[in-house]
Protein backbone atom coordinates (compact mmCIF):
# COMPACT_ATOMS: atom_id res chain seq x y z
CA UNK A 1 0.00 0.00 0.00
CA UNK A 2 0.98 3.63 -0.38
CA UNK A 3 1.99 3.72 3.27
CA UNK A 4 5.17 1.88 2.39
CA UNK A 5 6.35 4.60 -0.01
CA UNK A 6 7.27 7.11 2.64
CA UNK A 7 7.98 4.72 5.46
CA UNK A 8 11.66 4.73 4.43
CA UNK A 9 12.55 8.25 5.50
CA UNK A 10 9.74 9.39 7.84
CA UNK A 11 9.12 8.24 11.37
CA UNK A 12 5.62 7.57 12.65
CA UNK A 13 5.14 11.04 14.08
CA UNK A 14 5.99 12.75 10.79
CA UNK A 15 3.83 10.32 8.86
CA UNK A 16 0.88 11.10 11.09
CA UNK A 17 1.50 14.79 10.48
CA UNK A 18 1.48 14.20 6.70
CA UNK A 19 -1.85 12.38 7.07
CA UNK A 20 -3.33 15.22 9.12
CA UNK A 21 -2.23 17.82 6.58
CA UNK A 22 -3.62 15.81 3.63
CA UNK A 23 -6.99 15.49 5.37
CA UNK A 24 -7.09 19.23 6.05
CA UNK A 25 -6.12 19.90 2.41
CA UNK A 26 -9.01 17.71 1.27
CA UNK A 27 -11.53 19.71 3.31
CA UNK A 28 -10.04 22.98 2.09
CA UNK A 29 -10.44 21.72 -1.48
CA UNK A 30 -14.10 20.78 -0.90
CA UNK A 31 -14.98 24.16 0.61
CA UNK A 32 -12.98 26.13 -1.95
CA UNK A 33 -14.38 24.03 -4.80
CA UNK A 34 -17.95 24.50 -3.58
CA UNK A 35 -17.36 28.24 -3.28
CA UNK A 36 -15.82 28.68 -6.73
CA UNK A 37 -17.69 26.06 -8.74
CA UNK A 38 -20.73 25.01 -6.71
CA UNK A 39 -23.17 27.56 -8.19
CA UNK A 40 -22.71 25.91 -11.62
CA UNK A 41 -24.87 23.11 -10.25
CA UNK A 42 -27.90 25.42 -10.47
CA UNK A 43 -27.59 25.83 -14.24
CA UNK A 44 -30.05 23.67 -16.14
CA UNK A 45 -29.12 22.67 -19.67
CA UNK A 46 -31.78 20.52 -21.30
CA UNK A 47 -29.47 19.60 -24.18
CA UNK A 48 -27.12 17.85 -21.76
CA UNK A 49 -29.69 15.75 -19.90
CA UNK A 50 -28.94 12.38 -18.25
CA UNK A 51 -25.36 12.13 -19.51
CA UNK A 52 -23.16 9.45 -17.94
CA UNK A 53 -19.82 10.52 -16.43
CA UNK A 54 -17.31 11.83 -18.97
CA UNK A 55 -14.29 14.13 -19.04
CA UNK A 56 -16.47 17.23 -19.35
CA UNK A 57 -18.89 16.13 -16.60
CA UNK A 58 -16.90 13.82 -14.30
CA UNK A 59 -20.02 12.91 -12.28
CA UNK A 60 -22.46 13.06 -15.23
CA UNK A 61 -25.57 15.24 -15.44
CA UNK A 62 -29.04 14.83 -13.97
CA UNK A 63 -32.56 14.87 -15.48
CA UNK A 64 -32.41 18.66 -15.90
CA UNK A 65 -28.90 18.68 -17.37
CA UNK A 66 -27.31 20.03 -14.19
CA UNK A 67 -23.65 19.20 -13.63
CA UNK A 68 -23.57 16.57 -10.88
CA UNK A 69 -19.97 17.37 -9.94
CA UNK A 70 -20.90 20.93 -9.01
CA UNK A 71 -24.05 19.75 -7.23
CA UNK A 72 -22.06 17.17 -5.27
CA UNK A 73 -19.46 19.74 -4.20
CA UNK A 74 -22.14 22.10 -2.98
CA UNK A 75 -24.09 19.28 -1.33
CA UNK A 76 -20.98 18.04 0.40
CA UNK A 77 -20.29 21.50 1.75
CA UNK A 78 -23.85 21.76 3.11
CA UNK A 79 -23.65 18.27 4.65
CA UNK A 80 -20.24 18.93 6.21
CA UNK A 81 -21.37 22.31 7.59
CA UNK A 82 -24.47 20.76 9.17
CA UNK A 83 -22.48 17.87 10.60
CA UNK A 84 -19.74 20.14 11.94
CA UNK A 85 -22.03 22.66 13.59
CA UNK A 86 -24.20 19.93 15.13
CA UNK A 87 -21.18 18.01 16.44
CA UNK A 88 -19.67 21.17 17.91
CA UNK A 89 -22.91 22.02 19.70
CA UNK A 90 -23.13 18.45 20.94
CA UNK A 91 -19.53 18.51 22.21
CA UNK A 92 -20.26 21.71 24.16
CA UNK A 93 -23.30 20.04 25.74
CA UNK A 94 -21.08 17.08 26.62
CA UNK A 95 -18.45 19.36 28.15
CA UNK A 96 -20.98 21.17 30.34
CA UNK A 97 -22.77 17.98 31.45
CA UNK A 98 -19.52 16.07 32.01
CA UNK A 99 -18.03 18.86 34.12
CA UNK A 100 -21.26 19.31 36.06
CA UNK A 101 -21.53 15.58 36.79
CA UNK A 102 -17.96 15.38 38.04
CA UNK A 103 -17.85 18.54 40.14
CA UNK A 104 -21.32 19.50 41.39
CA UNK A 105 -21.89 16.61 43.77
CA UNK A 106 -23.71 13.33 43.89
CA UNK A 107 -27.22 14.51 43.04
CA UNK A 108 -26.13 16.19 39.81
CA UNK A 109 -23.98 13.18 38.94
CA UNK A 110 -26.92 10.80 39.34
CA UNK A 111 -29.13 13.10 37.28
CA UNK A 112 -26.61 13.29 34.42
CA UNK A 113 -25.98 9.53 34.42
CA UNK A 114 -29.70 8.95 34.32
CA UNK A 115 -30.11 11.45 31.47
CA UNK A 116 -27.50 9.48 29.50
CA UNK A 117 -29.45 6.26 30.12
CA UNK A 118 -32.64 7.85 28.82
CA UNK A 119 -30.89 9.32 25.76
CA UNK A 120 -29.48 5.95 24.70
CA UNK A 121 -32.65 4.00 25.56
CA UNK A 122 -34.13 4.27 22.07
CA UNK A 123 -32.30 3.40 18.83
CA UNK A 124 -30.29 6.42 17.76
CA UNK A 125 -32.13 6.92 14.49
CA UNK A 126 -35.55 6.80 16.20
CA UNK A 127 -34.45 9.53 18.62
CA UNK A 128 -33.20 11.59 15.67
CA UNK A 129 -36.54 11.21 13.88
CA UNK A 130 -38.43 12.13 17.06
CA UNK A 131 -36.41 15.32 17.64
CA UNK A 132 -36.47 16.31 13.96
CA UNK A 133 -40.26 15.87 14.07
CA UNK A 134 -40.48 17.98 17.22
CA UNK A 135 -38.55 20.77 15.48
CA UNK A 136 -40.72 20.54 12.39
CA UNK A 137 -37.90 19.40 10.08
CA UNK A 138 -35.70 21.69 8.01
CA UNK A 139 -31.96 22.28 8.29
CA UNK A 140 -32.51 23.66 11.80
CA UNK A 141 -34.37 20.50 12.81
CA UNK A 142 -31.55 18.27 11.55
CA UNK A 143 -28.88 20.27 13.38
CA UNK A 144 -30.86 20.28 16.64
CA UNK A 145 -31.62 16.56 16.35
CA UNK A 146 -27.99 15.61 15.73
CA UNK A 147 -26.70 18.01 18.40
CA UNK A 148 -29.19 16.77 20.99
CA UNK A 149 -28.41 13.09 20.51
CA UNK A 150 -24.62 12.73 20.15
CA UNK A 151 -23.39 13.96 23.54
CA UNK A 152 -23.65 10.82 25.76
CA UNK A 153 -20.32 9.19 24.75
CA UNK A 154 -18.20 12.31 25.18
CA UNK A 155 -20.02 13.23 28.40
CA UNK A 156 -18.97 9.90 29.90
CA UNK A 157 -15.35 10.39 28.78
CA UNK A 158 -15.13 13.90 30.24
CA UNK A 159 -16.84 12.89 33.48
CA UNK A 160 -14.44 9.97 33.97
CA UNK A 161 -11.40 12.12 33.13
CA UNK A 162 -12.35 14.86 35.60
CA UNK A 163 -13.14 12.34 38.34
CA UNK A 164 -9.75 10.70 37.79
CA UNK A 165 -7.93 14.05 37.78
CA UNK A 166 -9.64 15.19 40.97
CA UNK A 167 -8.38 12.18 42.87
CA UNK A 168 -4.84 12.25 41.45
CA UNK A 169 -1.85 13.01 43.67
CA UNK A 170 -0.51 16.09 41.89
CA UNK A 171 -3.86 17.87 42.18
CA UNK A 172 -4.03 17.11 45.91
CA UNK A 173 -0.47 18.34 46.30
CA UNK A 174 -1.23 21.54 44.44
CA UNK A 175 -4.21 22.19 46.74
CA UNK A 176 -2.06 21.52 49.80
CA UNK A 177 0.45 24.07 48.51
CA UNK A 178 -2.30 26.66 48.71
CA UNK A 179 -3.50 26.95 45.08
CA UNK A 180 -7.14 27.90 44.64
CA UNK A 181 -9.59 25.69 42.78
CA UNK A 182 -9.73 27.99 39.76
CA UNK A 183 -5.93 28.06 39.48
CA UNK A 184 -5.86 24.26 39.62
CA UNK A 185 -8.64 23.97 37.07
CA UNK A 186 -6.82 26.29 34.66
CA UNK A 187 -3.24 25.04 35.11
CA UNK A 188 -3.69 21.35 35.89
CA UNK A 189 -7.09 20.20 34.64
CA UNK A 190 -7.42 22.08 31.36
CA UNK A 191 -4.21 20.72 29.74
CA UNK A 192 -5.51 17.20 30.34
CA UNK A 193 -9.08 17.87 29.31
CA UNK A 194 -8.44 19.87 26.16
CA UNK A 195 -6.97 17.01 24.06
CA UNK A 196 -9.77 14.68 25.20
CA UNK A 197 -12.34 17.28 24.21
CA UNK A 198 -10.78 18.08 20.82
CA UNK A 199 -10.38 14.41 19.88
CA UNK A 200 -13.86 13.57 21.15
CA UNK A 201 -15.20 16.39 19.00
CA UNK A 202 -13.27 15.25 15.91
CA UNK A 203 -14.38 11.64 16.30
CA UNK A 204 -17.96 12.85 16.65
CA UNK A 205 -17.89 14.46 13.19
CA UNK A 206 -18.17 11.20 11.18
CA UNK A 207 -21.25 10.07 13.15
CA UNK A 208 -22.83 13.51 12.99
CA UNK A 209 -22.34 13.84 9.24
CA UNK A 210 -23.67 10.34 8.53
CA UNK A 211 -26.70 10.77 10.79
CA UNK A 212 -27.49 14.17 9.30
CA UNK A 213 -27.30 12.61 5.82
CA UNK A 214 -29.57 9.74 6.92
CA UNK A 215 -32.20 12.12 8.34
CA UNK A 216 -32.15 14.19 5.16
CA UNK A 217 -32.39 11.06 3.04
CA UNK A 218 -35.50 9.94 4.93
CA UNK A 219 -37.11 13.31 4.19
CA UNK A 220 -36.97 14.96 7.62
CA UNK A 221 -34.46 17.57 6.66
CA UNK A 222 -33.99 19.94 3.83
CA UNK A 223 -36.12 20.68 0.80
CA UNK A 224 -34.68 20.39 -2.74
CA UNK A 225 -33.67 24.07 -2.40
CA UNK A 226 -30.84 23.12 -0.05
CA UNK A 227 -29.32 20.17 -1.93
CA UNK A 228 -27.36 18.42 0.81
CA UNK A 229 -25.92 15.00 -0.09
CA UNK A 230 -28.89 13.26 1.55
CA UNK A 231 -31.29 15.25 -0.65
CA UNK A 232 -29.28 14.41 -3.80
CA UNK A 233 -29.37 10.72 -2.92
CA UNK A 234 -33.08 10.75 -2.06
CA UNK A 235 -33.82 12.46 -5.40
CA UNK A 236 -31.69 9.94 -7.28
CA UNK A 237 -33.86 7.09 -5.92
CA UNK A 238 -36.52 8.02 -8.47
CA UNK A 239 -34.07 7.74 -11.38
CA UNK A 240 -32.22 4.58 -10.37
CA UNK A 241 -34.70 2.33 -12.16
CA UNK A 242 -34.10 4.35 -15.37
CA UNK A 243 -30.44 3.37 -15.24
CA UNK A 244 -29.06 6.71 -14.01
CA UNK A 245 -26.76 5.01 -11.51
CA UNK A 246 -24.20 7.82 -11.49
CA UNK A 247 -26.63 10.13 -9.68
CA UNK A 248 -26.23 7.95 -6.58
CA UNK A 249 -22.75 6.46 -6.85
CA UNK A 250 -20.54 9.54 -7.13
CA UNK A 251 -22.15 11.73 -4.40
CA UNK A 252 -22.19 8.73 -2.05
CA UNK A 253 -18.51 7.97 -2.66
CA UNK A 254 -17.47 11.57 -1.97
CA UNK A 255 -19.46 11.47 1.27
CA UNK A 256 -17.72 8.25 2.33
CA UNK A 257 -14.28 9.69 1.54
CA UNK A 258 -14.95 12.86 3.55
CA UNK A 259 -16.35 10.94 6.51
CA UNK A 260 -13.38 8.61 6.48
CA UNK A 261 -10.99 11.55 6.25
CA UNK A 262 -12.50 12.93 9.47
CA UNK A 263 -12.11 9.55 11.11
CA UNK A 264 -8.44 9.33 10.08
CA UNK A 265 -7.88 12.94 11.16
CA UNK A 266 -9.32 12.28 14.62
CA UNK A 267 -7.38 9.07 15.16
CA UNK A 268 -4.10 10.59 13.89
CA UNK A 269 -4.45 13.58 16.19
CA UNK A 270 -5.15 11.25 19.07
CA UNK A 271 -1.82 9.51 18.42
CA UNK A 272 -0.05 12.90 18.23
CA UNK A 273 -1.69 14.42 21.30
CA UNK A 274 -1.67 11.42 23.62
CA UNK A 275 1.48 11.61 25.77
CA UNK A 276 1.74 7.81 25.74
CA UNK A 277 1.98 7.48 21.96
CA UNK A 278 3.26 10.84 20.72
CA UNK A 279 6.95 9.86 20.84
CA UNK A 280 6.64 6.54 19.03
Amino acid sequence: MFVQLYRIHLNRRSRTLVTVISCLALFAAVFLGAWLYGENGEITNLQLRKLPPSWEQPFGTDWLGRDMFARTLKGLRISLMIGLSAATASAIIALILGLAAATLGKAVDTAVTWLIDVAIATPHLILLILIAFACGGGAKGVIIAVAASHWPVLTRIIRAEVLQLRSSAFIHLSAKLGRGPLWIAWHHMLPHLLPQFVIGLLLMFPHAILHAAALTFLGFGMSPHTPAIGVLLAESMRYLSMGLWWLAVAPGLTLIISVQAFDILGNSLRVLLDPKTCRE
Binding site: P123, L240, Q260
Partner: protein, 330 residues
Amino acid sequence: MPQSLFLKFLLQKSIKLLVLLGAVALLSFFLVSRSPIDPIDAYVGAAILKISPEQREVIADRWGLDKPPAERFFCWAGRLVRGDFGISTIYNEPVLSVIGKRFITSFWLMLLAWSFSGVLGFLLGIAAGAQEESLLDRVIRLYAFTMASTPTFWVGMVLLTIFSIELDWTPICCAWPPGMSAEETCFWQRLHHLLLPALTLSLIGVAQITLHTRGKMIEAMNSEYVIFARAQGDSTLGIVFRHAVRNAALPAITLQFASLGELFGGAVLAEQVFSYPGLGKTTVEAGIRGDVPLLLGIVIFSAIFVFFGNTLADIIYKYIDPRMRRMAGT
Protein backbone atom coordinates in the same frame (compact mmCIF):
# COMPACT_ATOMS: atom_id res chain seq x y z
CA MET B 1 -26.58 -21.03 39.38
CA PRO B 2 -28.63 -19.97 42.41
CA GLN B 3 -32.16 -19.41 41.26
CA SER B 4 -33.03 -16.72 43.80
CA LEU B 5 -30.14 -14.59 42.53
CA PHE B 6 -31.45 -14.82 38.99
CA LEU B 7 -34.97 -13.89 40.11
CA LYS B 8 -33.57 -10.89 41.95
CA PHE B 9 -31.68 -9.89 38.81
CA LEU B 10 -34.86 -10.13 36.71
CA LEU B 11 -36.82 -8.10 39.26
CA GLN B 12 -34.18 -5.37 39.28
CA LYS B 13 -34.19 -5.30 35.50
CA SER B 14 -37.99 -5.04 35.33
CA ILE B 15 -38.04 -2.10 37.73
CA LYS B 16 -35.31 -0.42 35.73
CA LEU B 17 -37.27 -0.96 32.52
CA LEU B 18 -40.44 0.55 33.99
CA VAL B 19 -38.62 3.66 35.24
CA LEU B 20 -36.84 4.03 31.94
CA LEU B 21 -40.05 3.64 29.94
CA GLY B 22 -41.70 6.28 32.12
CA ALA B 23 -38.88 8.70 31.34
CA VAL B 24 -38.92 7.88 27.62
CA ALA B 25 -42.69 8.34 27.49
CA LEU B 26 -42.52 11.69 29.29
CA LEU B 27 -39.66 12.98 27.14
CA SER B 28 -41.09 11.85 23.82
CA PHE B 29 -44.54 13.20 24.67
CA PHE B 30 -42.98 16.54 25.55
CA LEU B 31 -41.06 16.59 22.26
CA VAL B 32 -44.04 15.63 20.14
CA SER B 33 -46.40 18.07 21.81
CA ARG B 34 -44.17 21.00 20.97
CA SER B 35 -43.84 20.08 17.30
CA PRO B 36 -44.96 22.90 15.00
CA ILE B 37 -46.49 20.30 12.68
CA ASP B 38 -50.25 20.58 13.25
CA PRO B 39 -51.61 17.04 13.67
CA ILE B 40 -54.93 17.92 12.07
CA ASP B 41 -53.26 19.52 9.02
CA ALA B 42 -51.01 16.48 8.69
CA TYR B 43 -54.02 14.16 9.04
CA VAL B 44 -56.26 15.74 6.42
CA GLY B 45 -53.34 16.36 4.04
CA ALA B 46 -54.51 17.52 0.60
CA ALA B 47 -58.11 17.94 1.76
CA ILE B 48 -57.04 20.84 3.97
CA LEU B 49 -59.11 23.40 2.05
CA LYS B 50 -62.24 21.27 2.06
CA ILE B 51 -62.79 20.91 5.79
CA SER B 52 -64.63 23.51 7.80
CA PRO B 53 -63.57 24.90 11.19
CA GLU B 54 -66.45 22.93 12.74
CA GLN B 55 -65.06 19.64 11.39
CA ARG B 56 -61.67 20.65 12.74
CA GLU B 57 -63.20 21.12 16.15
CA VAL B 58 -64.80 17.68 15.98
CA ILE B 59 -61.40 16.09 15.24
CA ALA B 60 -59.64 18.16 17.90
CA ASP B 61 -62.31 17.18 20.40
CA ARG B 62 -62.06 13.49 19.59
CA TRP B 63 -58.25 13.52 19.88
CA GLY B 64 -58.39 15.66 22.99
CA LEU B 65 -56.26 18.37 21.37
CA ASP B 66 -58.18 21.18 23.07
CA LYS B 67 -56.89 20.16 26.50
CA PRO B 68 -53.58 21.38 27.98
CA PRO B 69 -50.48 19.20 27.28
CA ALA B 70 -50.07 18.03 30.90
CA GLU B 71 -53.63 16.74 31.06
CA ARG B 72 -53.20 15.07 27.66
CA PHE B 73 -50.03 13.38 28.86
CA PHE B 74 -51.66 11.86 31.94
CA CYS B 75 -54.66 10.79 29.91
CA TRP B 76 -52.34 9.16 27.33
CA ALA B 77 -50.03 7.60 29.94
CA GLY B 78 -53.01 6.24 31.86
CA ARG B 79 -54.25 4.47 28.75
CA LEU B 80 -50.70 3.22 28.01
CA VAL B 81 -50.60 1.48 31.37
CA ARG B 82 -53.84 -0.32 30.47
CA GLY B 83 -52.26 -1.38 27.17
CA ASP B 84 -54.17 1.07 24.96
CA PHE B 85 -51.74 2.93 22.68
CA GLY B 86 -54.48 4.82 20.83
CA ILE B 87 -55.49 4.75 17.17
CA SER B 88 -53.03 5.39 14.36
CA THR B 89 -54.32 8.29 12.26
CA ILE B 90 -52.82 7.16 8.94
CA TYR B 91 -53.76 3.48 9.17
CA ASN B 92 -56.98 4.01 11.14
CA GLU B 93 -56.14 0.97 13.24
CA PRO B 94 -55.03 0.49 16.86
CA VAL B 95 -51.34 1.43 17.18
CA LEU B 96 -50.45 -1.90 18.78
CA SER B 97 -51.88 -3.92 15.91
CA VAL B 98 -50.04 -1.76 13.34
CA ILE B 99 -46.77 -2.19 15.26
CA GLY B 100 -47.35 -5.93 15.68
CA LYS B 101 -48.03 -6.56 12.00
CA ARG B 102 -45.18 -4.37 10.77
CA PHE B 103 -42.73 -5.70 13.30
CA ILE B 104 -43.22 -9.29 12.15
CA THR B 105 -42.33 -8.23 8.61
CA SER B 106 -39.27 -6.40 9.92
CA PHE B 107 -38.41 -9.24 12.30
CA TRP B 108 -37.47 -11.67 9.54
CA LEU B 109 -35.34 -9.01 7.86
CA MET B 110 -33.57 -8.15 11.10
CA LEU B 111 -33.12 -11.79 12.12
CA LEU B 112 -31.58 -12.75 8.77
CA ALA B 113 -29.27 -9.71 8.72
CA TRP B 114 -28.38 -10.06 12.39
CA SER B 115 -27.38 -13.72 12.24
CA PHE B 116 -25.55 -13.37 8.93
CA SER B 117 -23.55 -10.33 10.02
CA GLY B 118 -22.80 -11.97 13.37
CA VAL B 119 -21.38 -15.15 11.84
CA LEU B 120 -19.55 -13.40 9.00
CA GLY B 121 -18.18 -10.66 11.23
CA PHE B 122 -16.94 -13.17 13.76
CA LEU B 123 -15.19 -15.27 11.10
CA LEU B 124 -13.62 -12.18 9.50
CA GLY B 125 -12.47 -10.99 12.91
CA ILE B 126 -10.82 -14.35 13.64
CA ALA B 127 -9.14 -14.42 10.23
CA ALA B 128 -7.84 -10.88 10.70
CA GLY B 129 -6.77 -11.21 14.32
CA ALA B 130 -5.06 -14.60 13.99
CA GLN B 131 -2.19 -13.01 12.11
CA GLU B 132 -1.86 -9.34 12.92
CA GLU B 133 -0.57 -7.09 10.11
CA SER B 134 -0.78 -9.85 7.51
CA LEU B 135 -2.18 -8.96 4.08
CA LEU B 136 -5.51 -10.60 4.97
CA ASP B 137 -5.66 -8.56 8.19
CA ARG B 138 -5.02 -5.32 6.29
CA VAL B 139 -7.70 -6.07 3.68
CA ILE B 140 -10.31 -7.00 6.30
CA ARG B 141 -9.46 -3.97 8.41
CA LEU B 142 -9.72 -1.65 5.42
CA TYR B 143 -13.13 -3.14 4.62
CA ALA B 144 -14.37 -2.76 8.20
CA PHE B 145 -13.17 0.83 8.51
CA THR B 146 -14.70 1.77 5.15
CA MET B 147 -18.04 0.22 6.08
CA ALA B 148 -18.00 2.09 9.39
CA SER B 149 -18.11 5.38 7.47
CA THR B 150 -20.56 4.30 4.76
CA PRO B 151 -24.23 5.30 4.94
CA THR B 152 -26.50 2.23 5.08
CA PHE B 153 -28.94 3.65 2.56
CA TRP B 154 -26.16 4.22 0.01
CA VAL B 155 -25.09 0.56 0.21
CA GLY B 156 -28.73 -0.37 -0.35
CA MET B 157 -28.95 1.90 -3.40
CA VAL B 158 -25.76 0.45 -4.93
CA LEU B 159 -26.95 -3.13 -4.36
CA LEU B 160 -30.35 -2.22 -5.79
CA THR B 161 -28.73 -0.79 -8.93
CA ILE B 162 -26.44 -3.77 -9.47
CA PHE B 163 -28.66 -6.73 -8.61
CA SER B 164 -32.19 -5.50 -9.26
CA ILE B 165 -31.78 -3.07 -12.15
CA GLU B 166 -28.68 -4.12 -14.09
CA LEU B 167 -28.72 -7.88 -13.47
CA ASP B 168 -32.44 -8.26 -12.73
CA TRP B 169 -31.79 -11.03 -10.20
CA THR B 170 -33.79 -9.60 -7.32
CA PRO B 171 -37.05 -7.62 -7.08
CA ILE B 172 -36.91 -3.82 -6.95
CA CYS B 173 -39.19 -3.31 -3.98
CA CYS B 174 -41.56 -4.52 -1.32
CA ALA B 175 -41.75 -7.68 0.75
CA TRP B 176 -43.87 -9.71 -1.67
CA PRO B 177 -44.87 -9.47 -5.35
CA PRO B 178 -47.15 -6.48 -6.07
CA GLY B 179 -50.84 -7.25 -6.13
CA MET B 180 -50.57 -10.12 -3.68
CA SER B 181 -51.11 -10.17 0.06
CA ALA B 182 -48.73 -11.50 2.69
CA GLU B 183 -50.77 -14.69 3.13
CA GLU B 184 -50.73 -15.70 -0.53
CA THR B 185 -46.97 -15.63 -0.93
CA CYS B 186 -44.78 -18.64 -0.39
CA PHE B 187 -41.59 -18.85 1.65
CA TRP B 188 -39.25 -18.58 -1.37
CA GLN B 189 -40.91 -15.43 -2.67
CA ARG B 190 -40.55 -13.82 0.75
CA LEU B 191 -36.90 -14.85 0.96
CA HIS B 192 -36.27 -13.53 -2.56
CA HIS B 193 -37.56 -10.11 -1.50
CA LEU B 194 -35.64 -10.23 1.76
CA LEU B 195 -32.22 -10.96 0.27
CA LEU B 196 -31.06 -7.49 -0.73
CA PRO B 197 -32.29 -5.53 2.31
CA ALA B 198 -30.78 -8.16 4.59
CA LEU B 199 -27.50 -8.09 2.66
CA THR B 200 -27.44 -4.29 2.97
CA LEU B 201 -27.80 -4.48 6.74
CA SER B 202 -25.25 -7.29 7.01
CA LEU B 203 -22.53 -5.59 4.94
CA ILE B 204 -22.69 -2.60 7.30
CA GLY B 205 -23.30 -4.58 10.49
CA VAL B 206 -20.23 -6.74 9.93
CA ALA B 207 -17.84 -3.82 10.57
CA GLN B 208 -18.27 -3.43 14.32
CA ILE B 209 -18.19 -7.11 15.24
CA THR B 210 -15.20 -7.74 12.97
CA LEU B 211 -13.09 -5.00 14.56
CA HIS B 212 -14.12 -6.08 18.06
CA THR B 213 -13.35 -9.77 17.48
CA ARG B 214 -10.06 -8.83 15.81
CA GLY B 215 -9.01 -6.90 18.92
CA LYS B 216 -9.93 -9.78 21.22
CA MET B 217 -8.08 -12.27 19.00
CA ILE B 218 -4.90 -10.18 18.98
CA GLU B 219 -5.13 -9.90 22.75
CA ALA B 220 -5.53 -13.67 23.06
CA MET B 221 -2.77 -14.46 20.56
CA ASN B 222 -0.32 -12.37 22.61
CA SER B 223 -1.34 -13.93 25.93
CA GLU B 224 0.84 -16.17 28.04
CA TYR B 225 -1.24 -19.30 27.57
CA VAL B 226 -0.85 -19.01 23.80
CA ILE B 227 2.92 -18.54 24.13
CA PHE B 228 2.94 -21.62 26.34
CA ALA B 229 0.93 -23.61 23.79
CA ARG B 230 3.35 -22.47 21.09
CA ALA B 231 6.29 -23.60 23.21
CA GLN B 232 4.66 -27.01 23.42
CA GLY B 233 4.70 -27.13 19.64
CA ASP B 234 1.06 -26.42 18.85
CA SER B 235 0.41 -25.07 15.33
CA THR B 236 -1.09 -21.61 14.75
CA LEU B 237 -4.32 -23.11 13.43
CA GLY B 238 -4.57 -25.35 16.48
CA ILE B 239 -3.96 -22.44 18.83
CA VAL B 240 -6.57 -20.28 17.07
CA PHE B 241 -9.30 -22.89 17.35
CA ARG B 242 -8.45 -24.45 20.69
CA HIS B 243 -7.52 -21.34 22.67
CA ALA B 244 -8.14 -17.97 21.04
CA VAL B 245 -11.60 -18.48 19.51
CA ARG B 246 -13.11 -19.52 22.85
CA ASN B 247 -11.96 -16.28 24.40
CA ALA B 248 -13.18 -14.14 21.52
CA ALA B 249 -16.61 -15.80 21.22
CA LEU B 250 -18.32 -14.52 24.33
CA PRO B 251 -17.59 -10.80 23.88
CA ALA B 252 -18.70 -11.14 20.26
CA ILE B 253 -22.06 -12.65 21.24
CA THR B 254 -22.54 -10.01 23.92
CA LEU B 255 -21.76 -7.21 21.47
CA GLN B 256 -24.12 -8.67 18.88
CA PHE B 257 -27.02 -8.58 21.37
CA ALA B 258 -26.12 -5.10 22.54
CA SER B 259 -26.18 -3.80 18.95
CA LEU B 260 -29.92 -4.39 18.44
CA GLY B 261 -30.50 -0.63 18.56
CA GLU B 262 -28.22 -0.02 15.61
CA LEU B 263 -29.87 -2.89 13.75
CA PHE B 264 -33.24 -1.22 14.29
CA GLY B 265 -31.92 2.09 12.96
CA GLY B 266 -30.30 0.37 9.99
CA ALA B 267 -33.58 -1.39 9.22
CA VAL B 268 -35.34 1.99 9.02
CA LEU B 269 -32.92 3.09 6.28
CA ALA B 270 -32.83 -0.23 4.40
CA GLU B 271 -36.63 -0.50 4.42
CA GLN B 272 -36.90 3.02 3.05
CA VAL B 273 -34.58 2.18 0.11
CA PHE B 274 -36.32 -1.10 -0.76
CA SER B 275 -39.86 0.10 0.11
CA TYR B 276 -40.03 -2.89 2.45
CA PRO B 277 -43.28 -2.56 4.44
CA GLY B 278 -41.80 -3.12 7.90
CA LEU B 279 -41.73 -1.16 11.11
CA GLY B 280 -38.89 1.07 9.89
CA LYS B 281 -40.80 2.36 6.89
CA THR B 282 -43.84 2.84 9.11
CA THR B 283 -41.71 4.97 11.47
CA VAL B 284 -40.72 7.27 8.62
CA GLU B 285 -44.33 7.53 7.42
CA ALA B 286 -45.56 8.28 10.93
CA GLY B 287 -42.94 11.02 11.27
CA ILE B 288 -43.53 12.62 7.87
CA ARG B 289 -47.33 12.45 7.97
CA GLY B 290 -47.59 13.47 11.61
CA ASP B 291 -49.16 10.31 13.04
CA VAL B 292 -48.41 11.17 16.67
CA PRO B 293 -49.94 8.11 18.43
CA LEU B 294 -48.11 5.72 16.10
CA LEU B 295 -44.79 7.59 16.39
CA LEU B 296 -45.00 7.56 20.20
CA GLY B 297 -45.93 3.88 20.16
CA ILE B 298 -42.92 3.04 18.01
CA VAL B 299 -40.59 5.06 20.24
CA ILE B 300 -41.74 3.09 23.30
CA PHE B 301 -41.66 -0.22 21.44
CA SER B 302 -38.11 0.45 20.19
CA ALA B 303 -36.98 1.32 23.73
CA ILE B 304 -38.30 -2.05 24.95
CA PHE B 305 -36.59 -3.75 22.02
CA VAL B 306 -33.21 -2.16 22.82
CA PHE B 307 -33.61 -2.89 26.54
CA PHE B 308 -34.39 -6.52 25.73
CA GLY B 309 -31.17 -6.79 23.68
CA ASN B 310 -29.05 -5.17 26.39
CA THR B 311 -30.55 -7.39 29.10
CA LEU B 312 -29.87 -10.53 27.07
CA ALA B 313 -26.29 -9.33 26.59
CA ASP B 314 -26.04 -8.84 30.37
CA ILE B 315 -27.42 -12.30 31.11
CA ILE B 316 -25.07 -13.95 28.63
CA TYR B 317 -22.14 -12.06 30.07
CA LYS B 318 -23.05 -12.81 33.67
CA TYR B 319 -24.36 -16.35 33.56
CA ILE B 320 -22.94 -18.11 30.55
CA ASP B 321 -19.29 -17.18 30.94
CA PRO B 322 -17.88 -20.02 33.10
CA ARG B 323 -15.56 -17.60 34.95
CA MET B 324 -18.34 -15.16 35.87
CA ARG B 325 -20.61 -18.06 36.83
CA ARG B 326 -18.09 -19.35 39.29
CA MET B 327 -17.72 -15.89 40.78
CA ALA B 328 -21.48 -15.48 41.10
CA GLY B 329 -21.70 -18.89 42.76
CA THR B 330 -19.27 -18.16 45.55
